[in-house]
Amino acid sequence: MEPLGYVIEHYVALSGVLFTIGAVGFLARSNVLVQLMSIELMLNAVNLMLVAYNRVHGDVMSGQMFAFFIIAVAAAEAAVGLAIVLSFYRLKSTVNSDAADNLRH
């Protein structure tokens, strides 16, 4: 048994599990807010994977740079997404994603 937390595979496995939880939440829930939070979970899992693989290379930090930009993009995405949720709620008086069928016809 490898020491817990000092082997790259532990981080990769944890990141995969977190990504799956986020994906399942996005698919299974129909509350738009919960779906946005699931997207944040998935982005976080990807960040963890990037930083973990970056750690294998002792003298390079490009992975951390990537994670930094992903955090910036995730912040922008959350702001725009929540604005869209507010606008959607104003239109439909609900945050159920099943109600978003305006483009259907």
């Binding site: 930009f69 993009v73 725009v80 929540l82 507010l86 606008s87």
Partner: protein
């Protein structure tokens, strides 16, 4: 069992439980708290991986800004934020298939990982690995263009968020009056008096 093992286990458990709470909770406020716990746990993992700068950024940006934004929106929506609709969910079959496919893919990936695991130990690093100085220097040497693009993206996102969230009709313009220029600088301060004729006291 060293302190590092315990710290990793603690952070992993905190982030996993937080993620499960985020997805399962009926009340979105609980979901937001679960997301917060995931983010804090992940900041601990970043520390474990010698990414101090990213751990700080994670706490500042995610825990300080994104989660607060979520909580604000949930509070703006009030009880409707967690309301469940009476109708059964649409596209149930494809959702179930998608969930099963996601779980199967992840289980397969984990099995593959356990099977082919080379047990890569984390190597020694430079003493300044992941420090603010080192990562910031790298961003400004190699990723300067990306950095500027990120600033543009954030500004566009802010403007877009304001434009989308304000929504509704554009503010109705007050009926134009004949001495608009004078009214602009010497007009009444309260909107209630907008139509009041201008006296001599203005200028």
């Amino acid at each position: 069992m060293t302190a590092g093992n315990v710290f990793f286990a603690l952070c992993a458990i905190v982030s996993l439980v937080g993620a499960l709470v985020t997805v399962v909770a009926r009340n979105p406020i609980r979901g937001a708290v679960g997301l917060l716990s995931t983010i804090v746990g992940m900041a601990g993992l970043f520390l474990m991986l010698k990414a101090q700068f990213l751990a700080a950024i994670q706490l500042i940006v995610y825990a300080g800004a994104v989660v607060v934004l979520f909580v604000f929106v949930i509070m703006l929506l009030g009880p409707d934020a967690g309301a469940v609709s009476g109708q059964p969910p649409k596209a149930r079959f494809s959702r179930v298939v998608g969930v099963l496919a996601a779980i199967a893919a992840s289980a397969f990936g984990l099995l593959l990982l356990a099977e082919t695991s080379a047990a890569v130990r984390l190597p020694q690093t430079r003493p300044d690995h992941g420090s603010v100085e080192a990562v910031g220097g790298l961003i400004f040497r190699k990723g300067l263009f990306l950095f500027e693009l990120a600033t543009v993206l954030l500004i566009v996102a802010v403007i877009g968020a304001i434009a989308v969230a304000r929504g509704g009709r554009p503010a109705r313009r007050a009926t134009p009056t004949k001495d608009e220029g004078r009214r602009l600088f010497a007009g009444p301060l309260h909107p209630r008096d907008a139509g009041r004729p201008l006296g001599k006291e203005g200028v």
